[in-house]
């Protein structure tokens, strides 16, 4: 069940929301949270019912491990817990990648497992590892089983993030003032959800067809077509994933839960460090707090700082997908961060526009590895972008220009005020009222249209 599907918008969401607040008012907050937990599990099971067992077992296991850590603070238990979590993630996400690479080195290849990746496993695994580490470090006080399970399974952020931190979420689930329907939050939540839905349905999906065509035919693209393909993908990925994050934030607000922002106009970044403070913020924060800093961060001299940066981003790369292209993508960003750190010492400044352009071009080129289905496709596209594709074909990338207004709007939106900025000024004025109306009508129109709807970040 996608956030952008009619069954979610017109059935699941209103039913879940209404029952939650009715139960909360008529029975108790605890029952309301149990309802929300069951609804979230149903939401997860809707894709693949069997996978709900994985998340239940994972949540129960981590709950008991963290309970043990709360009472005993055993390093052995912590390490065992982390290994178990990474083991499950490794089995589902990386086993075949590992076997494929082993098979290239040996005579008798192993059979691949072909295990289906449970949705959101990368997200809920990271969230729970963070929880275990913080419990061990005495950053977590007492917590209830229902609040913990809700923290792991809360449907707005379950399958594609943002990666929420227990310190942000669990106090909110425990806070009794959140059990009352808050129309301020409902209005703002609706507004933010509709902005996110529009980014996804109207903008990202209108770019997806051309991106798919471009990557499918990377070997025959002209220079211009290759650049259109790569830039359209950069825009598609941003509008798709940030749209999803906006929807998650809006949905959270309906339940009085404030989910952290995940994007802050990343393509306005003036350098690569700035980019990672604006793109997938919750992942960057996780990597910083639970990988980079534990490795030593920048405390142990320049050499080790560069090593730590590279290692952190290699982890970030492989977190996104089991493939060498993701590792290359992460490695490129790690190297770029190191270079940025090195050149920052000289304190020279480029004009802002040039800085933004260089950062965008770098990010855009590295997205090629992120999107390509393999090394060959990536190098084909990069060759074409560099004007090194000499195949002479009459391939047509764009068949019609019906979506041209949307593409122009997309570029404007990239560099205008972002959804967080617009939402932060939300009030009950005519100005916001009209925007909400236009968004709802446009979304209904696109919901009722035949367009491809695939959330890119569901694969991670």
């Amino acid at each position: 069940m996608l956030f952008s599907s009619p069954e979610f918008i017109f059935i699941f969401l209103p039913v879940t929301l209404c029952v939650y607040f009715i139960v909360s008012k008529q029975l108790s907050f605890v029952y309301a949270k149990i309802w929300l937990l069951l609804a979230s599990l149903f939401f997860y099971a809707y894709w693949h019912p069997a996978n709900v067992l994985i998340i239940i077992v994972s949540a129960v296991f981590n709950f008991y491990i963290s309970r043990t850590l709360l009472s005993s603070r055993s390093k052995f238990v912590l390490v065992a817990g982390i290994i178990a979590n990474l083991g499950v993630l490794g089995y589902y996400k990386y086993a075949d990648f590992f076997l494929v690479n082993i098979n290239t080195l040996i005579d008798k290849p192993f059979s691949l497992l072909h295990v289906a990746l449970p949705l959101g496993i990368s997200f809920f695994t990271f969230q729970q590892i963070a929880f275990l580490v913080d419990t061990y470090n005495k950053k977590v006080q007492n917590f209830s089983f229902s609040d913990y399970c809700l923290f792991v399974t809360f449907f707005p952020q379950l399958v594609a993030g943002p990666i929420v931190h227990h310190s942000e979420m669990m106090p909110q689930f425990a806070n009794p003032t959140n059990q009352v329907l808050n129309l301020n939050n409902v209005a703002k939540g609706l507004f933010v959800f509709n902005m996110g839905l529009a980014k996804k349905l109207i903008v990202a999906d209108s770019l997806s067809g051309i991106v798919a065509q471009g990557y499918k035919n990377a070997e025959v693209l002209s220079v211009v077509q290759a650049w259109i393909t790569s830039v359209f993908y950069s825009m598609q990925l941003y509008f798709d994933f940030s749209g999803y994050s906006d929807m998650a934030i809006g949905l959270g607000l309906l339940f009085n839960i404030h989910i952290p922002i995940n994007f802050n106009s990343p393509y306005k970044a003036e350098n690569i460090q700035d980019f990672w403070r604006r793109w997938h913020i919750t992942l960057s924060t996780f990597l910083r707090d639970y990988v980079y800093i534990p490795l030593g961060g920048s405390k142990d001299g320049e050499q080790k700082t560069y090593r730590n940066l590279l290692f952190t981003f290699l982890i970030g790369g492989i977190w996104h997908g089991a493939g060498w292209t993701f590792i290359i993508w992460g490695g490129l960003h790690g190297v770029a961060l190191g270079l940025h750190r090195f050149f920052s010492k000289f304190r020279f400044q480029l004009p802002k526009f040039i800085s933004i352009l260089i950062t965008f071009l770098f990010v855009n080129v590295t997205w090629v590895f992120f999107r390509a289905d393999g090394w060959q496709t990536a190098t084909n596209l990069l060759s074409a972008m560099a004007g090194l594709n000499f195949s002479n074909t009459s391939f047509v990338l764009i068949n019609d220009f019906y979506s041209l207004p949307v593409w122009i709007a997309a570029v404007i939106l990239l560099f205008g005020r972002n959804t967080n900025q617009i939402a932060s000024g939300f009030n009950f004025s005519i100005n916001y009222g009209w925007r909400l109306m236009i968004l709802i009508i446009l979304n209904l129109l696109y919901l009722n249209s035949t367009i491809s709807q695939e959330f890119l970040y569901f694969d991670f």
């Binding site: 129309l183 301020n184 409902v186 209005a187 609706l190 019906y402 009950f428 004025s429 005519i430 009222g433 009209w434 909400l436 109306m437 709802i440 009508i441 209904l444 129109l445 696109y446 009722n448 249209s449 035949t450 367009i451 491809s452």
Partner: protein
Amino acid sequence: MDSPAKFLRLYALGSIIVALILVSINFAIDLYGLFWRDGKSGISIYSDERTSKYLLAHRYVPNNFNVYLLGPSLSANINTKEFSDYRIYNLSMMGANITEQYAVLAKALEVNNPSKVIICLHPYLTADHGMKTAMINEKEYWAALGSVSLFKAYGLSIVRKFNLMPGKYPTNQFNDFGYNNYNDLLRTDVKAKIESELQKPDAINAIIDLQALQEFDLMVADLKRRGVKIIGYFHPLPYEIFNKFEPDMLKYQLTIRQHLGDSTLLLDFNNSEYQFFTKDYSNYIDHGHLSEKGQRFLLQEIIAKSGL
């Protein structure tokens, strides 16, 4: 306004009311004759041939026509309106394969049965299977009450009506008999085009996809079960092209003959009887699609030979 309750009432409910008004307008226009228009005065196509013919097949086509013409682009530009007494609707679609064609036909058959179906037989129809686009699907029915494709159709209806982009969207491209007059859009130097096609070893791919053949069988069986008379014709290819690929084409024809069965009337426009036609470039606009003159002769001949 400082009350969230008032805000939500006004704008959330307001937007639903606006959406309902838009739906009502679209219902009143009923561009595809899905809801109330009987189509007696004719319903034309403005945009997306696949979506339009699929939607028109819900009510307009079965309620207003007795005979359907099926096939890919090779038959899509046959103007059946020139023989309007026979009430032949051209359900052919540019680039259509058997999956898409049967999906559109099946929708019309849900309402009632035509007396006859004419099938343009060319390897293209059975070369592959599966939907090539998302344009033919159940969702399009509700999309006719308000969607991007509907508003695109409105926009193009205005563009065509006022002849704003005659090069790309000519006023007379479609008519209410399903005719897709792409002749001026695709017309080329026939002789040169044929010569260039003859240089290609794979200009005609006569291999039949097995799944496509199964779907073809299903369609034929469905029509026969309903008592619909099938008239098949092997599309007239330019003589030189047929001649070059004759062994493959004969194999194709044999398979199709066997699958259509003896009860089907089959016309072969590539045999010697029609060489005067296939050798005459004026009957073509390129290496296979027929000119107005060619179309007219072909349809007249089908009508005469099949006793329509």
